[in-house]
Symmetry: C2
Subunit: 284 residues, 2 copies
């Protein structure tokens, strides 16, 4: 098995990508799949979706310090570069960009990219600097790699909308492709953070998607939005979640709050089990 080429600097990345650029859409074209590593089948679904569309797929692996708050899990976030590289080899990826923090944030780094609009509320209420960290690093990755297409999972739905907004606002010449959530057999959205869950916690986590489906069923039957969301919060606590950050119904495109059911809408949830925070979302 040939392992993908691993580059660690922006200059090397640009040199490695250069031969893949050009007008011939059959032979040329670059898709970027930005990740924080600890790859699971959800990431591999992003890679597979990229390979269906674009001849060449590059994956970035960077655990971005600026999107973690001091009290969050930056230090314990799983780092599995050897295994990631083998998975990506089997998935047909030929280039990995795995920079050190110094490369992305050199001495004197002073720039922040912020996106309001879809970046207001929900995750921002609980992780105030999260999207600034995401938008800054994604802008930098998209500028560095200058891909034709970049793949993002719907798992991080608010992040997806923040990145769409960012790309439109800065005129970044890239198509953003959203890939549906990959789920375990019981419906739990795949996440690198699921590895933190002890077996009993993992059982609780499996209830998250079932509760969301129950909320959507109630909305479909005509239950009011406030009542349906309150049911969701109560059902999660009953299922064993230690805390519910939000159960929210939002406009699927702008993330504006919805007082009454209207389509297209999105149900978004964040809830905690012990120290582990899970997020999920579904189309309504």
């Amino acid at each position: 098995m040939t392992l993908p080429v691993l580059v660690t600097t922006v200059a090397e990345l640009r040199r490695a990508l250069e031969p893949w650029r050009g007008q011939d859409k059959q032979k040329n074209g670059i898709a970027l799949v930005p990740t924080m590593g600890a790859l699971h089948d959800g990431h591999l679904a992003l890679v597979a979706a990229a390979r269906e569309r674009i001849p060449h797929v590059a994956v970035s692996i960077f655990v971005n310090p600026t999107q973690f708050a001091p009290y969050e899990d930056f230090n314990s976030y799983p780092r599995t570069l050897e295994a990631d590289r083998e998975k990506l080899a089997r998935a047909g990826v030929s280039l990995i960009f795995a920079p050190f923090a110094r490369e992305m944030y050199p001495d004197g780094f002073a720039t922040t990219v912020s996106v309001k609009g879809p970046g207001i509320g929900l995750e921002t209420d609980f992780r105030p600097h999260f999207f600034d960290g995401v938008a800054t690093i994604v802008a930098k990755l998209l500028i560095a790699a200058a891909p034709d297409t970049a793949m993002f999972g719907e798992k991080d739905y608010q992040q997806l909308l923040v990145i769409r907004r960012l790309v439109q606002d800065l005129s970044l010449p890239v198509e953003i492709v959203a890939v549906p959530i990959a789920r375990e057999a019981d419906g739990l959205a795949m996440s690198s953070r699921n590895a933190y869950l002890a077996p009993a916690q993992r059982q609780v986590a499996g209830q998250l998607n079932r509760v969301m489906q129950d909320v959507i069923t109630r909305l479909a039957r005509g239950t009011g939005v406030v009542e349906a969301l309150a049911f969701g919060t109560a059902a999660l606590k009953e299922a064993g979640f230690d805390g519910v950050d939000y159960v929210a119904l939002r406009d699927a495109e702008t993330l504006a709050p919805l007082a009454a059911m209207q389509k297209p809408a999105r149900l978004l949830v964040a809830a905690r089990i012990g120290k582990t925070r899970l997020i999920d979302n579904m189309a309504v």
Copy 2:
């Protein structure tokens, strides 16, 4: 005289620039000169410096609303597109990008690029959102035009350092070239805002550069920094300036304040005559 092609959208700009890209450095290569129009000889010095280096020069003309505070002169800022286009034709410029505000800030625009570091203090103390506006629009222009080189005047010295930092931090693939300040016969730095000055005010304005030279002479003779700067402030008021925002000695590369004279340093001044605010700076 053939007027430069005028394009108003990012898509048109990219199409127009495409033929100028390529590996052959003799024939290809794009320099961007970002301006707010109302062109004077200072702008034309930027164009001339660009033409010396790079085969093709594009000039952007955009009075960027987000870098003006509500109480500032956005509405009255001079707009002279016809005359600008003729000046650029004579200067050998073949492309002008003059977008409408809607093109740069479409509905729902929500992104801000901020640069701390060199963007802290001096201008920021008096125009808190100025560099956010500048960094956001310059990032967007550099992404849209993707030039090999972009020219900025040393007249806006803090802005120049903010942009250098921005380009380095986001890995924008462009070389930033600084062009020395163009001055009138009496030393007044050329500025579109000089047009606001009544004849008597214009006389006062001509003292700004002389006072700066006096401050530098004193520093060279061993006068302490605090004393020399205080002399500068007093001398400006005596010369007829209505207010002095700052007379500051800074590290020329980082803009860090300097308590004692050390090179390379930069003397930076902002002072007001009536409603007109003038800035200037000199190497020390």
